[in-house]
Symmetry: C5
Subunit: 269 residues, 5 copies
């Protein structure tokens, strides 16, 4: 149900492509801009500050957060409406127990757990409480992942400046010919460039990306809670559809109503 | 009911007009300031960072957001009061079904949907829930559009600085005569200029513009929800007018009460 | 009931006085600092960006917002307590209709409207709803006015920098003698000075001023709503006074209790 | 019950001591750094901007806010618990009227007023409403005082930069020998130094100080409201103590339970 | 139940290691970068500003806050679920009094106090109120500790700049040979380096660290409140487990269900 979000890798390649194009317009080659010690100071130093900021547990979540950041979940919400309509039809015809088999085969762990609680006959307010605590625990996870990259993105330019200051102080303390000064200054500025580039081309964009993806996931989970509670309350299939469709944005709604299999719904609405 | 907002294009033309005027006061012509590689680094690089930040779905909404940003919806709210007064009169005389024809011909999809739900006899709390979920979904759409331009506006100066740093590092690494330095420095600074100009002359203003227009639209939708709920509760035409007029600002209210067709209301109020 | 706030004009005069004093300490006269093209770029350019940001409707409110910013409303709140005590005494003696004449002569449109609704016998919850919607509409108006100047104050230094960059790029591209460089640099920096001065000496202070005045007005309106609801609930004059006095700050309260006409209240309290 | 907070004056002396120490390490004396016109531009100009920002009424509160900022109120909260336990014991033994004498001798005006309202037999919800409005009025007073210094702290560096720009423009417009340039530059930078020093060494710290002291005062008032409401509800002395102790932080609590006179409570808890 | 968080010391060592590595790449040794007067101005001056900002009481909490920042509390939450399951089983079999002995031996003071209140038969709403006030008092303590380092981290670069300005002004006022200028400039920049390094390598990371650890502790306390209230309400062991497991993040949950002793629960869930 989820598809690859190719924009993130494309964007990252473009960021560096644009910089290489800019460098190729100048008088010196790419080699002037590759300086491992500068990289160590800027990226290593800011990562060390990130280590001080977070606990080991937070940092272990980063690979997962990165994985989320390159996964799209847009089509998902339209399918959810169909799924809940189907479940609602079965429940209203044959009762809650009739969906037990379907539920056990569901992929989404949140939806599965919610419906299992309904089938188990847990009280509506308890179901809602459990699902909402789960949702806010997921929300916190996304926030943490986003914060990791945003904070790294705030330390990187600072360590870029620290590197440039170290270079400048050394250059000024031990001054030789004007040419030496210029080339020392040139090297000193590379850390500032690295800091600005990594912060604004990678860390901040990925931080915002995770935040945005997280907000969409949370919205989908809120939609599921809404659907699950409606199923438990025994609301009509038409009401459930009406409620869930409001979670779609205008474009998704248009797509939803103009699909082949939903023509009658489109007319009815 | 909506009219073109000509301030946005006028403002954009003025921003560039002022810059060209400023340039014309100096010793070199406009040509010094046109440098496609600098444009590529600043605008291309910051757009690449924007691609990393947002998903394909978010970016598809941008043309729509831009369209909103050049449409004004001020007169709208006064007409809404009249429309609701008219609907209220018919409903109180001939019942809810009497407005079915008028509702089916309405332009505004939100108002239409809300009144259809009322005519269909959906419970008040369900109508309110459906409309409020729809409203918060619209609110999120505006926020997304505004965020797109604001984030672009924060990356643009950063990539302007990145371009200038690339130019400076090359200039310092490969230093020739003082004249070369000056002209290299001149080119290097163009990316900073582009970054500052596009961020503060285009991206940030449009981002705030969409936010402001969105807030007004949301207020109009809240006004519609207020009116729709009052119609469903069977409140008197006078009470509905009184409630809806509070959504107008002082100036609109004065205009509203001094129009020809409302003189008696003005006296009554 | 309102008195002129002379601090705002005094402050504005002082800001420029201090700058002129500073200039008079240096080697060149005021003439060095008057440069109409720099003014056009900084103030014109930032105003153009403001035009893109706001709609025509928002900008029409600016003169009103400016007028508010030079009007003080401090004495007001003490008078309000007296006014409500008087109204309460009449209402408790002769009933609601006895205040009809007084209400129709009131200056403040908010207070007048609120009491008229009470006299008309509108339900308490409806009166509260109408007044609170009106209050939040006023609150939005102040926010808009404050935002106008704050956003202008954020664009002004940016266009100051844009002007300086234009000057620098031209100077570096077309370099002559060191003296030319210095004088070109001098002119280029004037836009930065204008941007910093207008943002920090005019736009931001006025933006905060409107915000502060708006917050006080909103507090006065909340006090009126509190008083109006108490009148409608038929609370005792003593309770109404007690409630309204809490809206005064400590100093106003001391002044209130030590006035001649309130000596007995001071003793009673 | 309140004691002098000597940290604020010590800190202020240290800030300037450190700067004088730093200056004494260099080649020129303190005299280089004392320049009344620079002081006038930076502090005078930023104060003029502050005058535009605030109304006369707000500025009159500053001496009081400053006084609060050098007063500590830490021991206070422990004494409050004792006071409420004492009051509760008397009330439960001899009724509310038995505390009338004690209340009339209380120092704290908030506590005194709250208990007087209880003795006067005002309804609990009205007592709570009056006290909470009073609390939020005090909260606003602290916010205002804190905002005054924080806003001054944001204008000061801006006027420091304005002064430096004025000096730079004059120096560049009227260039003489390199030595003149250096000494002109030196004077120009003094305003930036003043701006940074006053903002970060005085205005911002005092602004945060007032905010912190205000938050503690508000917490103490919330504790009083909690105690007053418990007295009015006739809760047991043990419950009141238990409730109020939660307002103490861990350290205060430890001190509270290990004092001589409370040994039995410590054992009971 | 808590284990040492070694990431914080590792990160701090790495920050300085990276800087020493960067310095070792340049032409001058570490000695150029060690300048006690610069340290006194930057760290001493910013600490003096911190003294103005906070009261003695706030500053006394710093050692405790630092201790928290190097302690991890991750495993904790899984153990809490087990502990509550155990308590619930005993309570449902033998009643509340059966856990009195276990409770008196508990390490965690919050959990101990909460359960003691339950055993003492305090009303559920009072237990909740007392525990929530305690929680918000703890929350405030963490906020204070975090704020201390964040504010220090904002003053440090400012005092770094103040030190550099003092050096620059002295250098320009008393100009000698170009070599003197360079070395004076070199020393002047050291304070800026110190400010940037201490702010971004120590103070800000530790400030965020305390904030993050505090949020986790608060979440654990909320989990305890949830468990304590469920015990008091006599909910089933299964419901309590279900509720508490939602406080675990996905990874902890997986670990929880795959442990040996919980296999049956994993199957049941």
């Amino acid at each position: 149900m989820k598809k690859q979000d190719i924009l993130t890798p494309i964007g990252l390649i473009l960021v560096f492509g644009v910089c290489i194009y800019g460098i190729s317009q100048g008088s010196t080659g790419l080699k002037t801009f590759i300086d491992p010690p500068s990289f160590a100071i800027t990226i290593g130093g800011s990562f060390a500050a990130v280590l001080v900021t977070f606990s080991l547990d937070d940092i272990k979540k980063v690979p997962k957060a990165l994985k989320i950041s390159i996964t799209s979940n847009n089509i998902y919400k339209m399918d959810l409406v169909d799924q809940f309509k189907e479940i609602s039809r079965i429940v209203r015809k044959d009762g809650l127990l009739a969906i037990e088999q379907d539920v056990s085969e569901m992929e989404d762990p949140f939806l599965k757990k919610g419906l299992e609680l309904v089938i188990d006959g847990i009280e509506p307010e308890n179901v809602k409480e459990i699902l909402e605590t789960e949702l806010s625990s997921k929300e916190a996870m996304y926030e943490q992942g986003s914060k990791f990259f945003k904070i790294w993105g705030s330390y990187a330019p600072a360590f870029g400046m620290i590197g440039t200051l170290i270079g400048l102080i050394q250059m000024l303390a031990d001054m030789g010919s004007p040419d030496d000064i210029a080339s020392g200054m040139s090297v000193a500025l590379i850390t500032t460039l690295y800091g600005a580039l990594f912060a604004n081309g990678i860390f901040n964009p990925i931080g915002y990306n995770i935040q945005g993806k997280g907000e969409k996931e949370v919205e989908a989970l809120e939609m599921m809670i809404c659907g699950i509670m409606s199923i438990q309350n025994g609301e009509s299939t038409r009401t459930i559809e009406e409620k869930l469709v409001t979670f779609l944005n205008e474009k998704e709604r248009k797509t939803y109503y103009t699909r082949d299999g939903n023509e009658e719904s489109a007319n009815a609405a």
